[in-house]
């Protein structure tokens, strides 16, 4: 039964592929996102850019606010819990959430352990900077992975770094011989069976999205060309001049990520992009939360 549940949860992520998951803070924004072509929405009280600006401890959103968003749209609704905060996860499962993001965007609740996600019926997505981190999260029961990137910055550099790191490490694993996998598992600090899966198949056993810093159609297409199977856009949409137009353009860019002519057209007259902060200018690296 549990095994079957995990398969169904991985299957839902497969249905989201080639799509854009958008951060929304109100039912109105959720409707705008759905109309613009979001394949799912992430319900949260403040988008990462505002969390960054406000400082302080940031936690799971008010369940009433999440329910409002669930009622507003027919697409899947995701929500974030703090790293290691399994009670926030129990609460989201109780309100029938479609996907839980155990997220470094919120303040971590546990500086050592992540949630034992295999205990839950509801699926989890987790962030990763490298292959070891991705496989540890999958070992704990994550049914989907995303790059961490650096949320709320509008700067794509970290998402690129994380995606290249993960694909590079997978290619290296593939090139190893069978008897080298034990040592590789030790070095990656990852479960041997998952290391073996990557060695045999050249990909993660779950869907892998890009997240953190996507602000333009070109950013989204860049991540897709680097091997992402879909894209999360957080602050990039509702912190920009024309959210509806930008959202729709990013959705189309993910579909036709290999067609520069279409991408050129999509990039025209989108109004102002979110201002953005460079990684050197920020004091808090959210990607360093939870290893």
């Amino acid at each position: 039964m549990v095994e079957n549940r995990y398969e169904l949860n991985k299957n839902l992520a497969q249905m989201l592929k080639g799509g854009v998951i958008m951060d929304v803070t109100t039912p109105e924004q959720a409707k705008i996102a759905e109309k613009a072509g979001a394949c799912a929405v992430m319900a949260l009280e403040r988008i990462p850019a505002d969390i960054r600006a406000a400082g302080g401890v940031s936690r799971m959103s008010d369940p009433a606010m999440i329910k409002g968003i669930q009622d507003a749209v027919s697409i899947p609704v995701m929500a974030k819990v703090r790293i290691g905060h399994f009670v926030e996860a129990q609460i989201l499962e109780a309100i029938d959430i479609d996907y839980i993001d155990e997220s470094e965007v919120l303040s971590p609740a546990d500086d050592r352990l992540h949630i034992d996600k295999s205990k839950f019926s509801v699926p989890f997505v987790c962030g990763a900077k490298d292959l070891g981190e991705a496989l540890r999260r999958i070992g704990e029961g994550a049914a989907m992975i995303r790059t961490k990137g650096e949320p709320g910055t509008g700067d794509i550099i970290q998402a690129v770094r994380h995606m290249r790191m993960i694909t590079g490490e997978m290619a290296r694993l593939q090139a190893l011989s069978e008897d080298e996998l034990y040592q590789a598992a030790k070095e990656l600090a990852a479960p041997l069976d998952l290391v073996r899966y990557v060695h045999d198949n050249g990909k993660l056993p779950v869907v892998n999205f890009a997240a953190g810093g996507v602000a333009t159609p070109a950013d989204a297409a860049l991540m897709m060309q680097l091997g992402a199977e879909g894209v999360f856009v957080g602050s990039g949409i509702f912190k920009s001049g024309n959210p509806e137009k930008r959202a729709a353009a990013i959705v189309q860019a993910v579909t036709n990520y290999q067609d520069p002519k279409i991408l050129a057209k999509l990039s025209e007259n989108l109004g102002e992009a979110m201002v953005g902060i460079n990684e050197q200018e920020i004091e808090l690296l959210m990607a360093e939360r939870g290893k």
């Binding site: 299957n11 249905m15 080639g18 799509g19 109309k35 394949c39 899947p76 959430i97 996907y99 699926p123």
Partner: protein, 199 residues
């Protein structure tokens, strides 16, 4: 024989793996040019989010030409979201179904009919003309009502989850997520029959 697969969003790669296993040539349809420069004998509308696909079909100017091909008798296989794209009406949907979706098949579909992700399930079921197969339902719809010309092909707990109307085949479940290729073979037979009738 060549199959076109709508590849604007969703689990189209899984259908491609099925066709590869069956040795069938396919092409992805992502933009209007794909319809102009190529021809194919059958079309697969994959699982994913039907609202996203409906929107992208319009934005990418695929909607009208594809609808014309379907009305012209092109064999189509729609899974889950693909079923919703083909249904004449959707229960409790906002807006006009005929503007956003193909609305070619005489049936009423219910979106997210089993609830949210916690309602997703799988079982072994019987499909007419196909036999016993694994059926995977992910935030699935079902068919709430059928028109006269539509034949139900499978039922689960009294709800219709697969049907056919002429050149159109739909399943609420996802054969492409399993190792079983029987539903794809059934569809390819429909495509083969049409090819023969055209020659």
């Amino acid at each position: 024989m060549k199959i076109g697969i709508l590849a604007v969003q969703g689990a189209f790669a899984e259908h491609e793996r099925c066709l590869e296993k069956l040795g069938i040539t396919f092409m992805e349809i992502r933009k209007a040019e794909d319809l102009q420069n190529h021809s194919f004998d059958g079309l697969i509308l994959p699982g994913g989010e039907s609202t996203v696909m409906g929107k992208l079909l319009h934005d990418l100017e695929l909607f009208e030409p594809m609808k014309a091909m379907i009305k012209n008798g092109l064999p189509v296989f729609g899974t889950c979201a693909g079923l919703l794209l083909l249904a004449k009406s959707i229960e409790n949907a906002e807006g006009n179904q005929e503007d956003s979706h193909f609305a070619c098949m005489d049936m009423v579909a219910k979106r997210n009919a089993y609830g949210r992700q916690l309602g997703s399930f799988s079982l072994i079921g019987e499909m007419e003309g196909v036999g016993k197969i694994p059926m995977v339902f992910i935030r699935a719809p079902y068919i709430a009502a059928l028109g006269k010309g539509v034949t139900p092909l499978a039922e689960v707990e009294g709800k219709i989850v697969a049907a056919r109307e002429g050149n159109l085949l739909v399943t609420a479940f996802h054969p492409e997520l399993t190792e079983n290729l029987a539903v794809h073979k059934y569809f390819l037979q429909m495509v083969e029959n049409r090819r023969e009738s055209l020659h």
